[in-house]
């Protein structure tokens, strides 16, 4: 006999929990769902666009009736649970029928708060909560002209906007002096009000409703000061209350909401609760992201896996009014202990305020250009120390949207044909329709369905903003600590710690120990784990699993679009010789190379080689003294140099010599991501050292060391680390810095985002301020290099790994 799970409430939180449960263990329970509304489960946050005529009910359905059938879920449609017998473990419905349970999930959501003024029960007075309310409003819009919305908060303004779109004259009545006072500060609220007024919305501020009057239906709304306005329909949108009536009635402990612990259990251990009806760590939530996080945790415990805790959510808000960009999160008012950073440009309609305490973001409110909202939100959620970029933070993440999508940062005002993802040619319209039609809530969903932001990732901020704008700000943001991939709940840092502390040298054993959800991981986690193993145990050859490396690192060449490969030999510091050039020319002729190309890293690339030819051409290049350039790996790539003082009349130091020495020291090392160096002989910086992962700019007094630059997807100039006086010091700092990056950065995180995550101060503390630590880091790098500096080409040219380069069988049919 299967156990029975009964769910009271057919809304987003309850069904999300069921969906998560089905994913984990589809056969764990017989599932029965009480749903008062005569529909499947729909996306309640999309009611505003339905009211505004931008969406239909069908478009916002999440699970239609077929879904319940397909998953063997009994939907008790139109039935209301009115009592629970906790001793006998059964739920009693309004028609007297009873349903027994082994586990009960209460997801009764919230109810709109109706101000109990005289006349609040007149026909024509509605809340804004479900499909029935929307139907009433749409019907009224067809017949009448005058609408009054009581409540100038998020929901009220969305209702008002919808009714206005339906052709009604709308007056918004608000008891406070500014709109959305729970989400906006005064300047932002003023800007919002004036742009809504421009669209024709009228406002009555500071107005306290005394009564609603009318004969057969509502006719006018009267205020405490004696004034009144005519109304054909009145929408009450003054707030929501957790719906705890049933739980309270049956003696489950409630305060403002149903009190639950971190595993979403109520005080009755057989009864769980999720969604807007719960109170967790003294907070109640009215947004979607927290509900989804709760659902995930609850499903995990229902499936008896017993891992995962809900630890509360930090939420942000967006207004779903087409054409208005507005974002707020956290504590945006501040107090005596906080400081405000403010940027205001009324003429162009931009306002942003960040509230800071001890150099950490407490809250933010933005109007107009909100593209950086998600960035500020991340910084706030992670409590990142912003000291290093505090002076520029208001201007946003400068590199966001720099490449491939112009500088258009206002997603709301973009046209549907505006290209968001330059790599995959995905337009705004494609993304928005995928989000609405396929019911997507997360960045990963959007990536999977549209490919937007799945290649270089530079448009991620735009896609997130679009997602937030389309589904509302309450879209599902990543949980506080991001797992490596869907195969596990563990983070990069947790996994590295286990590899180190528990001596794991095999990916499979680690995955078993850390309870991976898949049999042998996925390309995302396997490549990451493999790097962490190689980095931690350089001396253990077997810790490096070829099958967990991307093909380029397995074949030691770069795969091209037609399945052929490129070959790029190393040229130390960008220098070469007639012999090397001759050998490259000979090889190019011998292998019929169509394209010989000089790379951005001062080397020569040969393109279009068949895989089986690789060991052969490597042999030729080896014979001329050349080795692998690692142009294919998450590894040390190149050290770019200028000719320096040996030739240049401006040169201050021997930049070429230092570059060659640096490359001899660092070549062959595997990294979290590709890693480039450069040495310029003078501040004219011809080697472009200030957009490299590690750059040296020679000056008369010595060497300036720069870190964290990037010339690729997102241009980022380096941060100045320090100045040193000798080549030896430059080498030592470089080795220490590289090792710190190797040990601390997440796999596929380049130095630029790594430094932005941990802060330049952290780097300086480790490398500059702490001499002993610097020496140890450098020492660990040199130790690792002892095992890494074998030319992979030479081994394979001499027959190693032959199976990689030969067919198992040739058939001539």
């Amino acid at each position: 006999m299967k156990e029975c799970l009964v769910v009271i409430g057919n809304g987003m939180a309850g069904m999300r929990t069921v969906e998560e449960l089905l994913k984990l263990d589809p056969d764990a329970y017989e599932i029965k769902v009480f749903g008062e509304e005569p529909y499947g489960n729909y996306n309640r946050i999309m009611l505003s666009p339905v009211l505004a005529g931008e969406k239909t009910i069908e478009e916002i359905m999440l699970n239609d009736l077929q879904w319940y059938e397909d998953n063997n879920i009994t939907l008790l449609k139109g039935k209301k649970a009115v009592d629970i017998d906790r001793k006998a473990r059964k739920v009693i419905a309004d028609d007297g029928s009873e349903v027994e349970y082994d586990r009960l999930l209460i997801a009764t959501g919230s109810t709109p708060f109706i101000i109990p003024v005289p006349g609040h029960e007149l026909p024509g007075v509605v809340a804004f909560r479900d499909i029935a309310d929307v139907d009433t409003m749409l019907e009224a819009a067809g017949k009448y002209k005058k609408a009054v919305v009581i409540g100038g908060g998020l929901l009220g303004l969305e209702a008002a906007n919808g009714l206005m779109q339906q052709g009604m004259n709308v007056k918004v009545v608000h008891i406070m002096d500014t709109l959305m006072e729970r989400q906006l500060d005064e300047p932002a609220a003023k800007m919002l009000r004036s742009s809504l007024e421009e669209r024709g919305m009228e406002f009555l501020m500071g107005a306290q409703t005394a009564s609603i009057e009318g004969k057969d239906r509502v006719e006018k709304v009267c205020f405490k000061d004696g004034s009144s306005v005519d109304a054909d329909i009145v929408v009450m949108a003054v707030g929501i209350r957790p719906n705890i009536a049933l739980a309270e009635k049956v003696g489950i402990h409630c305060e403002r909401g149903i009190v639950v612990n971190d595993t979403m259990q109520t005080f009755d251990p057989r009864v769980y609760a999720v969604g807007e009806c719960v109170q967790h760590r003294n907070e109640t939530y009215g947004l979607v992201a927290p509900l989804f996080e709760m659902g995930k945790v609850c499903a995990n415990h229902l499936a008896k896996l017993g891992i995962g805790r809900y630890e509360g959510s930090v939420t942000s808000t967006k207004l779903k009014v087409t054409g208005i960009d507005l974002f707020s999160a956290g504590d945006f008012t501040g107090d005596d202990t906080t400081e405000d950073l403010v940027f205001q440009d009324a003429a162009s309609g931009v306002y942003r305020k960040i509230v800071v305490q001890d150099n950490k973001i407490k809250g933010t409110v933005m109007y107009g250009d909100t593209i950086d909202g998600t960035w500020y939100f991340d910084l706030m959620r992670d409590q990142t120390d912003i000291t290093d970029f505090r002076s520029t933070i208001l201007f946003g993440q400068a590199h966001l949207g720099d490449s491939g999508h112009g500088d258009d940062n206002r997603v709301a005002s973009m046209s549907d044909t505006a290209e968001i993802c330059g790599c995959n040619g995905v337009c705004k319209g494609d993304i928005v329709s995928a989000i609405t039609e396929k019911k997507l809530f997360t960045l990963d969903d959007v990536r999977a369905h549209t490919k937007a932001s799945s290649s270089c990732g530079s448009c991620t901020g735009l896609v997130e903003a679009l997602l937030a704008h389309t589904v509302g700000g309450d879209y599902s943001v990543a949980p506080h600590l991001k797992p490596i991939c869907a195969c596990t709940d563990h983070t990069h840092d947790e996994v590295r710690a286990v590899i180190r502390d528990k001596n794991f040298k095999s990916i499979r054993e680690l995955q078993q120990f850390m309870e991976w959800k898949t049999s042998d991981g996925c390309p995302k986690c396997r490549t990451a784990l493999n790097y962490y193993m190689v980095c931690q145990w350089p001396e253990t050859h077997s810790a490096d699993d070829a099958q967990s490396r991307f093909i380029n690192e397995r074949a030691h060449a770069n795969i091209q679009k037609d399945g052929t490969y490129s070959v790029i030999p190393r040229m130390w510091g960008g220098g070469t010789t007639p012999d090397e050039l001759r050998a490259i020319a000979d090889a190019a002729e011998k292998f019929n190379i169509k394209t010989v190309h000089v790379t951005g890293g001062q080397r020569i690339g040969l393109y279009g080689l068949k895989k089986e030819e690789l060991p052969v051409i490597w042999k030729d290049l080896n014979n001329a003294g050349m080795v692998s350039g690692h142009a294919y790996g998450k590894a040390l790539r190149t050290v770019k140099t200028c000719v320096g003082k040996e030739w240049c009349r401006f040169g201050t130091q021997d930049s070429t010599h230092l570059g060659v020495e640096l490359e001899k020291m660092t070549w062959g090392s595997w990294m979290p991501h590709k890693f480039k160096l450069a040495v310029s002989g003078c501040p004219r910086n011809c080697a472009e050292a200030t957009i490299k992962d590690f750059g040296v700019v020679c000056v008369d007094s010595g060497y300036e060391l720069h870190v964290g630059g990037n010339g690729g997807i997102k241009v980022r100039a380096t941060d100045f680390l320090c100045a040193v006086t000798t080549e030896e010091e430059a080498m030592e700092y470089s080795a220490a810095y590289i090792q710190l990056y190797r040990e601390e950065a997440h796999y596929l995180e380049r130095t630029a985002p790594w430094i932005e995550r941990v802060g330049l101060t952290h780097i300086k503390e480790n490398i500059v301020d702490d001499t002993e630590n610097r020496k140890q880091l450098a020492e660990r790098f040199h130790y690792s290099q002892k095992f890494m500096q074998d030319d992979p080409w030479e081994a394979r040219a001499n027959g190693a790994q032959q199976h990689e380069f030969t067919a198992i069988k040739q058939i001539n049919a």
Binding site: K438, A448, H449, S454, R508, T518, S519, D520, G521, C522, P523, R526, T527, A546, Q547, S548, F550, I551, A555, I559, K561, D562, G563, H803, A807, I808, K809, Q810, I811, N812, A813
Partner: protein, 111 residues
């Protein structure tokens, strides 16, 4: 139909890896999973013809090396939300010897 060709032994293919059978009608990728299951699929991703044999094998799937489409090894179909398929070929094991038939299984037009 039973034109089985011996292509090699299980040990010729690394676990979680693949080898290629070349033929004048196009290449066939032969995969070996962690559980030593063996599958043969046309070595062309339905997306942009990437060589699937070069991808990372995980579970009963392979990730195309070009644009990371995931292809189901037993059916040759792309994992949702991507759509498409690559032809699969019959494999039978005789002890550790791998026997391949060049006549593709029915169901996928990309043969």
């Amino acid at each position: 139909m039973s034109d089985w060709i011996e292509i090699g032994t299980l040990n010729d293919i690394p676990q979680l890896g693949a080898r290629v059978v070349t033929s004048d009608k196009g290449n066939i990728a032969v995969f070996r999973t962690a559980e030593d299951k063996v599958f043969a699929i046309k070595d062309e991703c339905p997306h942009k013809k990437g060589p699937l044999s070069q991808g990372i094998v995980h579970g009963d799937r392979v990730a195309c090396p070009l644009h990371d489409w995931k292809i189901q090894l037993d059916t040759g179909t792309a994992v949702a939300p991507d759509e498409g398929c690559a032809a699969t070929y019959p494999i039978k094991m005789e002890g550790s010897r791998i026997m391949l038939s060049l006549k593709p299984n029915e169901g996928c037009p990309n043969q």
